[in-house]
């Protein structure tokens, strides 16, 4: 099982490094978003900063995860389908998306810091928030991406389905961000962390239960 997961993960990364299609396009996408934001906003208040960060992160994640199940050519898809267990496919995809998103989000935050500011004062909390919400986003988006792939594979469907579902994470996460940049005071912020963590667990358990049914045609 573990070998299968890492094998599939290695395969995904290798094919990514070989054609560099997703990475280059997503990096360019990120860069152009931030340029557009820079020339339309020039400088941002701290309140706007969190909003900007989350908009960039969410649309970045949607574009990264979207199509992660339909990128394979048909033959290779069937090859993996017959060879690997559904759950190892799931774990490998979630891990792949998580690693990719963590890297891209770090890049996004770096670029935002370069073009605008980084008002973060409470770094451990900020990083913990980012890691937790990114994992939640990758869990939900991976699942929705498979649903989208199975139902016609239109990019807009992914956006429509995924955006409302990550709202709990978005609300708790942006609140935590406001705490991390000390715009609001909240001694109970661990409750938000806990609720994101709980949502990740629920999503994970649910996906483990539902993914194999969805994967098999």
């Amino acid at each position: 099982m573990l070998r299968e997961v890492f094998g599939l993960l290695g395969k995904d990364f290798k094919s990514e490094l070989r054609n560099k299609q997703a990475l280059t396009s997503i990096s360019l996408y990120l860069f152009s978003i931030i340029l557009v934001l820079y020339y339309s906003l020039m400088r941002v208040e701290r309140m706007t900063w969190t909003g900007l960060l989350w908009i960039v992160l969410i649309f970045l994640s949607i574009n990264t995860v979207q199509g992660c199940f339909s990128r394979e050519v048909k033959q290779r898809h069937w090859y993996i389908y017959t060879l690997a267990r559904p759950l190892s496919v799931y774990f490998s995809k979630v891990l792949y998306n998580l690693i990719l998103l963590l890297g891209l989000n770090a890049l996004a935050i770096l670029l935002i810091g370069l073009f605008f500011t980084l008002p973060v004062t409470h770094w451990p909390l900020f990083i913990l928030t980012m890691v937790l919400s990114t994992s939640g986003i990758s869990l939900i988006f991976t699942f929705i991406s498979l649903i989208t792939a199975k139902s016609g594979d239109q990019a807009v469907v992914m956006t429509i389905l995924a955006t409302p579902l990550i709202f709990p994470i978005l609300m708790a996460g942006s609140r935590l961000c406001l705490v991390a940049i000390e715009l609001i005071q909240d001694s109970n912020y661990y409750k938000d962390l806990l609720s994101i963590f709980a949502m990740n667990l629920i999503t994970f358990a649910l996906s483990v239960f539902l993914f194999p049914i969805l994967w098999r045609d």
């Binding site: 939900i140 649903i147 139902s151 016609g152 469907v157 389905l161 969805l214």
Partner: protein, 348 residues
């Protein structure tokens, strides 16, 4: 004689009862206006009050107190003008238990129809500069127990900003109960479909989700109308209003997936899976996240939702039956939709 399942009879019998009781039972007495808002200590103050559904001029003595914590002060005189208007004369000594310049006082009245309470009715200004020279108070602040006559009429409580709109409790809140119930059963049928692969279960799921979405829309609309008359705007971006909008979006996704898929088996399987996934993610959205945000709704900011504050015993007599009736009606609607699907299938 029409043959109907028992739970439909429940809905048929209870629904007129809810509508009748909801609209016919009068509201209890309350105070809608008090003038002035500020009273001064070491002075004689006359408060003019306007009541709602009150009968000040009926037989029986009326008493009034200003209260803060366990301290209270009785009015020297209660001058009744007509059934809705009265003047209360208070000569107020210095409030004993507070160093602050401003003290929030509630007004408590004892009438033949029962007690009348207006929380934070006036604020007491303790400024010594306003004192009347040679002021002698008739009463004193005391800590003795207040005794008031019991509420004698069958009516709904008068709440400050709610007024008559309190009746909407029976038509707005049960919609959400019914919606959640119907969604829960749709998840059950989704699970059954994935387990036994019978297409009927999938039709049941779809009908239940459709009924749930209908109830969700109705709940949003009744809520918006209620909000217009209490909070002042149809939509005030309250966290629960936003969450309902989002949950309706999530279920919009359910119908989007269905319309995208032509093959009935794939449609049934994928939409069932999405339905389970969406419902589970809906739980934190509706029940957990709003508690962390300030809301105009009761039940947020850590308050219990259906404590004794919100519902009194008279309202419970109507509210709980209303919940049952609405749930039955939601299932009824979904059943009709399901039967239409069955008939269409017979034609094809």
């Amino acid at each position: 004689m029409v043959k109907l399942a028992w739970w439909k009879w429940v809905a048929i019998i209870i629904m007129p009862y809810v509508i009748l009781m909801g609209f016919m039972v009068p509201l209890g007495q309350g105070i809608v206006n008090i003038n002035p808002f500020i009273v001064k200590s070491l002075n004689t103050n006359t408060l003019t009050i306007t009541g709602y559904n009150t009968r000040f001029n009926s037989e029986g003595k009326i008493k009034a107190w200003l209260r803060q914590g366990e301290w209270h002060l009785e009015a020297d005189q209660v001058l009744v003008q007509d059934e809705r208007h009265a003047s209360l004369v208070f000569s107020i000594p210095v409030f004993p238990d507070s160093m602050q310049n401003q003290v929030d006082l509630s007004l408590v009245m004892d009438t033949p129809d029962g007690p009348l309470v207006l929380p934070s009715a006036v604020s007491l200004s303790q400024d010594v500069a306003h004192a009347t020279p040679g002021f002698q108070a008739a009463g004193q602040w005391s800590k003795e127990m207040l005794t008031v006559r019991e509420e004698s009429n069958f009516n709904y409580p008068f709440r400050n900003i709610l007024g008559e709109t309190i009746r909407n409790t029976y038509f707005h809140v049960p919609l959400w109960f019914a919606m959640v119930m119907v969604f829960m059963f749709s998840v059950y049928y989704s699970y059954r479909y994935l387990r036994f692969k019978e297409i009927q279960d999938e039709w049941k799921t779809e009908s239940l989700v459709a009924a749930g979405v209908l109830f969700g829309i109705l709940g949003t609309v009744t809520g918006a109308i209620w909000a217009r008359f209490t909070w002042g705007a149809f939509w005030s971006f309250d966290v629960k209003q936003n969450m309902t909008a989002i949950s309706l979006l999530i279920y919009g996704g359910y119908f989007l997936i269905r319309s995208n898929l032509g093959d009935p088996d794939a449609r049934a399987r994928i939409s069932s899976i999405y339905n389970i996934f969406a419902f589970v993610l809906l739980i934190p959205l509706i029940f957990i996240i709003p508690r962390r945000f300030d809301s105009l709704h009761p039940g947020s900011g850590g308050n219990p939702a259906f404590g004794s504050q919100d519902l009194d015993n008279t309202m419970r007599l109507v509210f709980y039956p209303a919940v049952i009736a609405y749930i039955c009606i939601a299932f009824w609607i979904s059943q009709i939709r399901y039967r239409i699907k069955l008939l269409y299938n017979k034609i094809d």
